[in-house]
Symmetry: C2
Subunit: 168 residues, 2 copies
DNA sequence: CTATCTAGACAACCAAGTTGTCTAATTTCT
DNA sequence: AGAAATTAGACAACTTGGTTGTCTAGATAG
């Protein structure tokens, strides 16, 4: 690892960009994707959908999940998971039913409206993805994704369930 | 559903990546940068620093700022800005002093510890940036940044003061 | 010189998380 | 089989970072 700060800054050949711009670019790009997703979702009748909802519904999975397990999957406390579950119920994306085998537990399941939202999201993401490919070129987009994955994987313990804390 | 890692490791331009992976990659990359920043900051005696603090201090600027103006710069209400200001004071990154010309107003100014934190952050970001360059190549990193900027700029009204809502 | 506008404080509230305590149901262990 | 330990989920109180709404005091425009 090369960390000769004074020297390597001087004859570093390519990048004029300062280090702090990178996180800004990443966040802005993320925001732009998510904002567009929700703008489109709103146009298709899912005005109440928020970024966490899609993520949570994904964690619910096609087979449904108990509250506690949802908490584990999302990396939050079961109390927080219970609130999320209630929210998903309130906006009609999930329902609760008693667990067939465990008398303490309840199963949270996606409703068809929840499934619809997920399907729509997938479509919109694909469309955005194609638009990016059109703007910067499919090869560049591929490189971008490959590189992001490589760099992220190498450094981070980033357990994906850790993400929701960053969504609102 | 799961990424075909074996195939995408090869540099071929065959992207079967689904659209929804892109935002995940962006968020994971952002998180990895920010998490590492704060891990390093903590090692240098800034364990209380949180992502918003650096952003807010940046908005304070070298000349200082009033609470209301801080709110405007960050894109939040002045009440929220007042809370942020109090937090910055509490952890020793800023101080409040009466405004010389306006009897109603107060000026929030960075302390030397605040300046130190910013300087440290810049260093750490630069180091991370160089590490990325080492991992994926400076040309690829340059392309990545250029592309992110291009795609983001084209779509978004992304007023930068809008960002803090996404930081915790 | 009044009328309006603005800075910032205070309060009540919201949203999404946290911990801590509790009951009831299920497991596990002897 | 029965006691002990674990687990599911509810309820409550608190934290953080935001929001409105109301207020006073100082600045500014007519």
């Amino acid at each position: 690892m090369v960390v000769d700060t004074a020297k390597s800054r001087h004859d570093e050949q390519v990048t004029q960009r300062l280090g702090y711009e990178l996180p800004m670019l990443l966040l802005a790009a993320f925001r732009s994707v998510v904002d567009e997703l929700h703008a489109e979702l709103a146009l298709s009748g899912h005005e109440q959908a928020r970024p966490i909802d899609g993520f949570a519904l994904q964690a619910v999975g096609p087979a449904g999940v108990t509250i506690s397990e949802l908490g584990r999957r999302l990396g939050v406390s079961k109390q927080a998971a219970a609130k999320t579950a209630r929210r998903l119920e309130d906006i009609g994306y999930a329902t609760r039913s008693p667990h067939p085998a465990d008398g303490r537990a309840q199963v949270l399941t996606r409703t068809s409206r929840g499934e619809e939202m997920l399907a729509l999201s997938a479509e919109i993401f694909d469309r955005l993805h194609r638009r990016w490919a059109g703007q910067i070129g499919p090869d560049r987009l591929d490189a971008l994704e490959t590189d992001l994955e490589a760099v992220t994987r190498s450094t981070s313990t980033t357990w994906i369930g850790d993400l929701p804390g960053w969504l609102h």
